[in-house]
């Protein structure tokens, strides 16, 4: 089991414990692995909803979708086995490749920009000034509503021809023109939307920053380290568990973005498929064209890719993530 605990997308986070190294539930003081029959019965009784949910809604469906990925199934007729045809078709499908590209750009550019912004603002807010609580809430608010349909609609309204963004551009002497109808500008627009929601990771960074003992900064300052050096050698290592946690969370979340793209592009995937995110194309294939075998194949490719990326993140984390337990 890896050393860090993780969790699925969403604005809140149970951060990583600075000192914990195990993710299994505390075995309490006793630590004796004796399982009384009463305990076993109780355990399964309490866990029954989860077990039922897991079996029926997660494990079962996962196996079924694995099966479907090798079939041609359109809901009307029984699934027809086609071997690896779906997978070979996938990689010859220009739209699939486009959707993979769109998603990759969004993840590999959007996530770092979002985290960098979150960290920057967290550093800014970390100084001892009044009004912290209010500011923190202000920056956090967008993350709560960012993925909503309402915001997607507003975003679209702001980035069309002669819209707010257009006016601002022209004010600064940049060429005008809306972003929504321009396939080259739709991705920046989506990334801006993602970055706008930096509040959630920012709050977590802020909490992490507050946990860094002031003595460490003072000691480094006494040793003659300037602010930049201190940032690199004290802040970043101490913050690394939180950084890792945010990175993991945001990356997995970014792969699953759907409703904003759907609304902004009017359900089409944007001008010339420029907002055709992977999950969006999956939805179109599965629920508009009813090619469910194909869509299942897409889903499994996604699982593999996310799995690989997660594994890579975990592996490389050993190199740069320091837990306070180790540092002392």
């Amino acid at each position: 089991m890896s050393a860090t605990t993780t969790e699925r997308g969403g604005p809140a986070g149970s951060g990583v414990r600075g000192t914990a190294t195990s993710s299994s539930p505390a075995r309490g003081g006793a630590g004796k692995p004796s399982h009384s029959r009463a305990d076993t019965r109780a355990g399964y009784a309490f866990l029954s909803p989860w077990l039922l949910g897991f079996g029926l809604l997660t494990a079962g469906p996962m196996l079924m979708s694995l099966y479907l990925a090798f079939t041609d199934y359109n809901l009307f007729r029984a699934p027809e086995f086609v071997g690896i045809e779906n997978f070979t078709a996938l990689f010859a499908d220009t739209r699939f490749l486009k959707s993979a590209q769109v998603t990759a750009i969004y993840v590999f550019i959007g996530v770092p920009v979002k985290l960098a912004s979150a960290l920057a603002v967290a550093l800014l807010l970390n100084a001892k000034h009044r009004g912290q609580g209010a500011y923190r809430s202000m920056f956090y608010a967008p993350s709560l509503i960012g993925a909503s349909v309402s915001v997607a609609i507003v975003w679209r309204a702001m980035f069309i021809d002669d819209g707010v963004a257009d006016q601002v551009q022209q004010f600064f002497g940049l060429p005008g023109g809306g972003w929504v109808g321009n396939p080259d500008m739709t991705m920046p627009m989506m990334i801006l939307l993602a970055v706008w929601q930096f509040g959630a990771p920012m709050v977590i960074f802020l909490a992490g920053l507050k946990q860094i003992p002031a003595e460490l900064h003072e000691a480094a300052a006494v040793d003659g380290a300037g602010p930049v050096r201190r940032f690199v050698s004290v802040t970043v290592p101490m913050l690394s568990p939180v950084l890792f946690f945010n990175l993991l969370l945001e990356t997995i979340g970014a792969f699953q973005v759907f409703s904003s793209a759907f609304i902004i592009s009017g359900g089409t995937g944007g001008p010339a498929d420029s907002t055709l995110f992977y999950t969006f194309y999956l939805y179109i294939k599965g629920f508009t064209e009813f090619r469910m075998g194909y869509a299942s194949a897409m889903a499994w490719v996604l699982v593999l890719v996310v799995g690989i990326i997660t594994a890579v993140l975990f592996r490389t984390s050993r190199a740069w993530v320091h837990y306070t337990g180790d540092v002392r």
């Binding site: 699925r8 075995r27 949910g53 000034h129």
Partner: protein
């Protein structure tokens, strides 16, 4: 003596001035960033009070002419379905989700955190794993399952998973919280004759209130904003929750009626914003401190 006091007095005066300038600079900078961040939200609200023709290119927040016409349109509903029906649908889904999640997550968390039984470690690892799993790998089979059970076009496919602890995030949140509660409480209750159910119900659950509150708030908001689920399973306009109704509204109103769209967008977000304003401390604290204890 006097010379030194003068010097130190001057030094401290300089220091105070420096501190104040830094403080002012700080506030200015943060407010500037905050202004940019909050602009879209404010623009949305203010635009909802402007006539449609004034909205698109208008960078100015303050409406030249105030109008309530947009809200009148929004309240008019769509195709014979009243606005309040959409609100009610969203409410049913959200409250249902909260109830389901609180019930199933607390119970599961108790099992993971407080009961020792064979397989617990494996299950816990699996649960964590589901948080990393892209949801899309299960939507098609789930859809097929619910379709064959005849549950499509009802709220059931959206609510049932909540009652079965499929949202691992909340289970995890509660497990973390429970780990912070001392085992002595369990022991004391056991001595008093309580079995697991008693310990759970009478001792730990009341103490879990902060985690339950935080979870409820997030569960409510996430359900309120949920789009993909209702999109898949709800096909009749009179069952639409607000996000789907909003989309239908946007599809139908001609492209120039931004006023009505803004008004409806604002109305759809009102409960979320209300929750935020009232419970912001729980939310932000919950995010920040939940796992970063000591």
């Amino acid at each position: 003596m006097t010379a030194m006091t003068t010097v130190s007095a001057t030094a401290s005066a300089v220091a105070t001035r420096k501190k104040r300038t830094r403080s002012v600079a700080f506030h200015v900078l943060v407010l500037a960033v905050a202004a940019v961040i909050l602009y879209p939200g404010l623009w949305m609200v203010m635009s909802s009070f402007k006539p449609s023709s004034d909205i698109v290119g208008n960078v100015n927040l303050w409406p030249e002419t105030w109008t309530l016409h947009n809200y009148v349109s929004a309240f008019g509903g769509i195709g014979g379905v009243s606005f309040w029906t959409f609100v009610l649908n969203s409410l049913i889904l959200a409250v249902g989700s909260v109830v389901g999640i609180v019930l199933s997550a607390t119970v599961s968390a108790y099992a993971f955190a407080r009961i020792s039984f064979p397989g617990r470690g494996v299950y816990f690892a699996i649960m964590i794993g589901t948080m990393l799993l892209p949801f899309h790998v299960v939507i098609i089979p789930q859809y097929i399952l619910f379709n064959s059970l005849g549950m499509v076009n009802t709220f059931l496919p959206l609510l049932a998973p909540k009652f079965l602890a499929t949202e691992a995030f909340f289970v995890f949140l509660m497990v973390q919280f429970l780990r912070g509660l001392p085992r002595e409480l369990d022991e004391a209750a056991r001595i008093d004759g309580c079995g697991h159910w008693g310990i759970f119900r009478l001792v730990l659950l009341p103490l879990m209130r902060p985690a339950v509150i935080t979870s409820s708030i997030f569960a409510f908001i996430w359900s309120w904003n949920d789009f993909l689920g209702p999109l898949l399973y709800l096909k009749r306009p009179d069952t639409y929750p607000l996000p789907i109704a909003l989309r239908l509204y946007v599809d139908q109103t001609s492209v120039s009626d931004y006023g009505a769209q803004m008004a409806m967008a604002v109305l759809a977000l009102v409960p979320v914003l209300l929750f935020f304003v009232v419970f912001q401390r729980y939310l932000v604290d919950g995010v920040a401190t939940q796992g970063l204890k000591g």
